[in-house]
């Protein structure tokens, strides 16, 4: 199986602070990591390769230093990487990003499967996975929690839904996003780390992937940010203590007092 995994470099969320004046994330001095949800995607791709043979290529769009997360995936066991990097991509929203990643993926030969994490922890949109599928014209399954079977050009998966899961069969090639329930990502291996260390990553420019100027970066992004703000703290809150029975009784009393029930 030839598998591509789309990954993103994100700020380590456990270290992030918000600039109160602008409402945006303070990125300076915050360590950049591989988007945690993407580690499940990489792990699943490596597991599939171990089972069915083939090759795992990890793909990212970002500034040159985003190559670091690609190296992380090589340390885990990815075979090849693709860094799509060009100043022209700056300011891309999920629409332009999906278009750009789609073009990069088209350069890979005979892809059987594209796996993405369910979302990135910085933007939290969960739109790029389905956006890529749309750009490639491939079937898409979101929130996969288990790959049950791969055979005869088809794949059977379980996808997580709010009150359980669905079993879905999809023809390959396809695009899926995975949730953290799917596996436990492995530690990097020493041989992988050494391979990653010596890896030279040559970025692909907008021209190299054949991108149209008006469809990438800020120009290709229909999303307009009107305002970024932290929601104000909620008004008066009261904590009801006691045993569950006592808490319930007091809550009912209060709701009655407020004429809500």
């Amino acid at each position: 199986m030839n598998i591509a995994v789309c990954v993103k470099q994100v700020p380590d969320a456990s270290e992030v602070k918000i600039d109160k004046a602008t409402g945006t994330m303070v990125r300076e001095g915050v360590p950049a990591i591989l988007n945690p949800f993407d580690t499940y995607a990489v792990e699943e791709a490596i597991c599939l390769k171990e089972k069915h043979g083939g090759k795992v290529t990890t793909v990212t769009m970002g500034p040159p230093q985003a190559g670091d997360v690609l190296k992380h995936t090589v340390a885990m066991g990815a075979d090849d990487v693709m860094l799509i990097s060009d100043r022209a991509f700056a300011g891309a929203d999920t629409w332009a990003t999906s278009y750009t990643l789609g073009l990069g993926l088209k350069k890979l030969d005979s892809l059987d499967l594209v796996i993405c994490g369910k979302q990135a922890i910085d933007g939290d949109t969960a739109q790029v996975g389905p956006g890529i599928a749309e750009n490639l014209g491939l079937p898409f399954v979101a929130y996969v929690r288990k790959i049950v079977d791969v055979s005869n050009g088809k794949m059977k998966v379980e996808r997580l839904i709010e009150d359980g899961y669905e079993v879905v069969e999809v023809s390959l090639p396809a695009v899926i996003t995975v949730v953290k329930e799917i596996n436990t990502p492995r530690m990097p291996s020493l041989k992988g780390k050494m391979k990653a260390k010596s890896l030279e990553i040559k970025p692909l420019s907008a021209e190299a992937i054949g991108a149209e100027a008006e469809k990438i970066g800020l120009a290709g992004s229909p999303t307009k940010v009107m305002k970024v703000f932290s929601p104000p703290p909620k008004g008066n809150r009261e904590r009801i203590e006691g045993t569950p029975d006592e808490q319930a009784a007091r809550l009912v009393e209060k709701l009655k007092g407020l004429k809500i029930i």
Partner: protein
């Protein structure tokens, strides 16, 4: 302190540290409590390529030496030496093959050990033979194309869990220690079974069992080196592996310091953190100084061993002796710094103190290490020209 590690050595250290922190630390108390062998962690270490650090690349290893192995052992030991001994004991079982094995034996067994696919173990000690290796009663008798082994090995680390055992048995009991030979025995060989799992004071997640041989027949080609070489095999193996015990000791001592420094900064008495008291600072100062001295010695000895000198017994014994005595003292003091909390199982230092004791006992008691060093001193003095 900066020991000027190469990039590769730093990678090994970082990887082992990451595994220790993410995979070992969260489960160490439970493993100790349940006396459960850390198979999950062994699999992680295997996948991370750490089992083959000291094994040449041609046999599937990483091509490093004792020093690289020590770096990994130290980091694991910083959180749990029950786990690190299970890892390191596979090396103890592999060294006889690496040092004395034929090309065929190396090709057959070392890749399996290097990949962590199978664990190894070393069987020397018996009920009546520990420090006195001449007291070995297990015998191996050649019968046609097979050796027939009879006897019982005691307190074998990784016993029952490992699949490849290097075992010392007498092929010519009349010759005493010169009549011993070393053999490779695989788990599953008819006549080879395991005794009960021992209940220990510390390193309780590690497996310690008897190896029982009852007319166990192994192919003749499983003899390591030649008949009569058994004790040389054992001694050279221990020479190589002792700095590993030193690294366990350094890691354990450092782990205890990590815990009690953090505690001393938070614990308040008389309206101030107890780390502000000179009584505590002096204890911590001694603990850190002794641990750093032990680390410097262990690193120096491991690097010396990797330069492949003729005789390393003295240096190797010094590394094990000094570092393990330091680990015992430092962990006792760590419990003292933490007072009542230190004595409670809720905190990790009581386990560290229980664990530390074995370091002064296994792979040769510290009294035997002093004998080894003493003998070397006499030999060196006698060899000097006046």
């Amino acid at each position: 302190m900066d020991y000027f590690l190469t990039d590769t050595q730093a990678e090994i250290q970082n990887l082992a540290r990451q595994i220790a922190r993410e995979k070992v630390k969260p489960v160490r108390a439970e493993l100790d409590e349940k006396e459960e062998f850390p198979w999950e962690i062994m699999k992680v270490l295997a996948q991370a390529d750490l089992f083959g650090l000291y094994i040449p690349e041609e046999y599937g290893g990483f091509g490093g030496g004792a020093f690289e192995n020590c770096l990994a052992v130290e980091e694991l030991s910083r959180v749990c030496i029950g786990v690190s001994v299970s890892f390191a004991a596979s090396g103890l079982g592999a060294y006889p093959i690496l040092l004395f094995g034929s090309e065929g034996q190396k090709k057959k067994y070392l890749p399996q050990i290097a990949s962590g696919q199978r664990l190894a173990a070393f069987g020397l000690t018996e009920a009546g033979a520990g420090s006195d290796a001449g007291g070995t009663r297990t015998t191996a008798v050649l019968d046609g194309n097979e050796y027939v082994i009879n006897g019982t090995k005691q307190w074998i680390t990784n016993g029952g869990e490992a699949e490849i055992y290097t075992v010392i048995a007498m092929t010519n009991p009349a010759k005493g220690s010169r009549g011993a030979s070393a053999f490779i025995v695989e788990k599953g060989t008819p006549g080879f079974s395991f005794g009960k799992k021992e209940k220990k004071m510390g390193i309780r997640s590690s497996a310690t069992r008897e190896l029982v041989f009852e007319n166990c027949r192994i192919p003749k080609e499983n003899l390591l080196s030649k008949e009569g070489m058994g004790f040389l095999v054992a001694m050279k193996t221990l020479d190589k592996s002792r700095p590993g015990i030193g690294s366990q000791a350094v890691g354990l001592a450092q782990g205890a310091i990590d815990e009690c420094v953090e505690y001393a900064r938070e614990r308040r008495q008389f309206d101030q953190p107890i780390i502000s008291f000179q009584a505590i600072q002096h204890m911590l100062a001694d603990m850190c100084t002794q641990t750093e001295a032990a680390r410097a010695l262990v690193y120096a000895v491991a690097k010396f061993i990797d330069s492949d000198p003729k005789d390393v017994s003295k240096a190797s014994a010094m590394a094990k002796l000094f570092a393990s005595d330091v680990a015992m003292k430092v962990t006792v003091d760590a419990v003292q710094v933490m007072g009542g909390y230190g004595y409670m199982r809720e905190y990790p230092v009581e386990k560290m103190m229980r664990d530390a004791k074995i370091l002064q006992i296994y792979e040769g008691t510290n009294q035997i290490q002093r004998n080894v060093i003493g003998t070397a001193i006499i030999k060196e003095a006698a060899g000097k020209k006046k």
